[in-house]
Amino acid sequence: MHRFWRWLADHWVLAVGLLVLAYLFLPILVVFLLSLNRPTSRLSYDLSAQWTLDYWLHPFATAGIGDALRVSVGIALVATVLATVLGTLMAFAMARHRFRGRATANVLVFLPMATPEVVLGSSLLALFVTLRVPLGFWTVVVAHVLFCLSFVVVTVKARLAGLDPRLQEAAMDLYADEWQTFRRVTLPLVLPGVAAAAMLSLSLSFDDFIITNFNSGTTVTFPMFVWGAAQRGIPREVNVIGTAVFLLAFVLVLVVQLRGRRKARVV
């Protein structure tokens, strides 16, 4: 009886876990199938009997979709660079130094994560309206940096906290000055954390709809395009892009992860 329970506990958990994972992938499978399927009517979300490769061959056939994608990628890149630089500096301050106001800084970093996106987006909109800042590309960048920043700080801080401070001390003992220690020891060790944070920012920014919707004015990002199209019937090319971005990111993350693991084994 005991062995039976043990067996069940072992495999039951794994089986349930894989089922949950399948649940996570189910919509992506549907997105892929929809990208190969010609709809019977514009507003139909059901699969029809007609299969086609047209959408994959001409993913930018629908007007506006390519521009929206370009805007999204542009905003994501700018916001990621800014958030990663600012967030990494903050993480260093908070993980490596004891100073007055450290607790306040912690709260300041975590509050945006604990604020619902509607509230973040709407309060920023109110600010921009009051200051008469025209809404567009840069207001979206400001908003995206804001919500990516906290995630960068948390990710990089976690990496810094896991580092052995004796490594830096050893470098200093060997007469490396502060800059050399940072450049040759600390930075290479923190870099995987920074890379993970940048990846996270990139995906959060690219994916964001709610905050963008408040602050974009007439600028149309890819999620904004999808939202607008949803009222008139989603062009199936959207599913092509959804699938393609997913595959691209999946492979990229996997390569980075596996390479990171190999390196970690060497160190």
Binding site: G17, L24, L108, T115, E117, V119, L124, A126, D208, L254
Partner: protein
């Protein structure tokens, strides 16, 4: 809120040695300034684009509602805005709390076995499975939610199968019901539950489980008295990271529900962008924050009074 958020953050970041300041004898003074210089740019960003707008939003929520953007608003400390908003939209507030609460519980039930399986049963597939949890993020949130529309639609496979079951009425539907909205919420926020759970379960020492087994504890007993208490920081962090965005979400209600399922986020969105009733929208935003705060604090207290080390 601070304590709760701190707990979430503390649990979300894998533990390690506490920060050790590397003190050198020279450059003491410059060293004292260094953290502030490092914090300055990011801190200013947060101050300017988070703190200032929040304070301003609090002010806006008390404006006289008879004003408009063109004529300008006057500050009358109209606390009545809050009463009006509660009076008009209490069902939406309750729905936000209810749907998000149910979705969070389901996420916990689904996410725990998955996090546990990745941390302790996956072996060398661990990295791959972890990437799989994050991967859905890359197919745009909206596109995935729209895919649920296809899955749950009246002509879709799920409804088809369920209608074939005896005792299920022929006009049974999922789309445009609370179930569809909750399903979408669970789906969208499940990774936020799994990742902190994984972080705390991964640190769990397998020898503790073996020790419990050696002392003749049944797996259920081991789980109740060893695994669960030790993973509590992950449970708390995951719950908060799931509940907060779910309570503020309005995309799932909009795409998978009808106005009968609208949550407070839908109302805030339309008050801000369609009706241009800024004072009411601001008041609703703070009511949403207050709802979240009450639920989070009572939850953290409940989780804290249990014998959690």
């Amino acid at each position: 809120m601070t304590a709760a958020v701190g707990a979430a953050a503390g649990a979300a970041t894998p533990g390690g040695p506490p920060p050790v300041p590397v003190e050198a004898v020279a450059g003491r003074r410059r060293r004292r300034l260094t953290p502030y210089l490092l914090l300055l740019p990011g801190g200013l960003w947060l101050l300017l684009f988070f703190v200032v707008p929040s304070v301003q939003l609090a002010g806006t929520s008390l404006y006289d509602r008879s004003g408009s953007l063109e004529t300008g608003y006057s500050q009358t400390f109209a606390f009545v805005n809050y009463l009006d908003a509660i009076g008009a939209y209490w069902p939406h507030l309750l729905r936000s709390a209810g749907y998000a609460g149910i979705a969070t519980v389901i996420c916990l039930v689904l996410g725990y076995p998955l996090a546990y399986a990745i941390a302790h049963k996956a072996g060398r597939w661990r990295t791959l499975l972890l990437v799989c949890v994050i991967a859905p993020f890359f197919t745009t949130f909206l596109v995935r939610t729209l895919a649920w529309k296809s899955i749950l639609s009246d002509n879709g496979p799920v409804v088809g199968v369920l209608r074939a079951v005896p005792f299920v009425p022929d006009d049974f539907r999922l789309l445009a019901t609370p179930a569809a909205v909750v399903c979408g919420l669970v789906y969208n926020f499940l990774p936020f539950m799994v990742l902190p759970l994984y972080a705390s379960l991964e640190r769990l020492d397998g020898r503790l489980l073996e020790a419990a087994g050696d002392l003749y504890a049944k797996p259920v007993t081991t789980f109740r008295w060893v695994t669960l208490p030790l993973s509590m920081p992950g449970v708390v962090a995951g719950t908060l990271l799931t509940f907060i965005p779910a309570a503020g979400d309005y995309i799932n209600a909009e795409l998978l529900g009808t106005p009968n399922q609208y949550m407070v986020g839908n109302v805030i969105d339309s008050a801000f962008l369609v009706r241009l009733d800024y004072p009411q929208a601001a008041a609703l935003s703070f009511l949403l924050m207050a709802t979240i705060l009450v639920m989070v604090l009572s939850y953290v207290r409940a989780a804290g009074t249990e014998e959690v080390v």
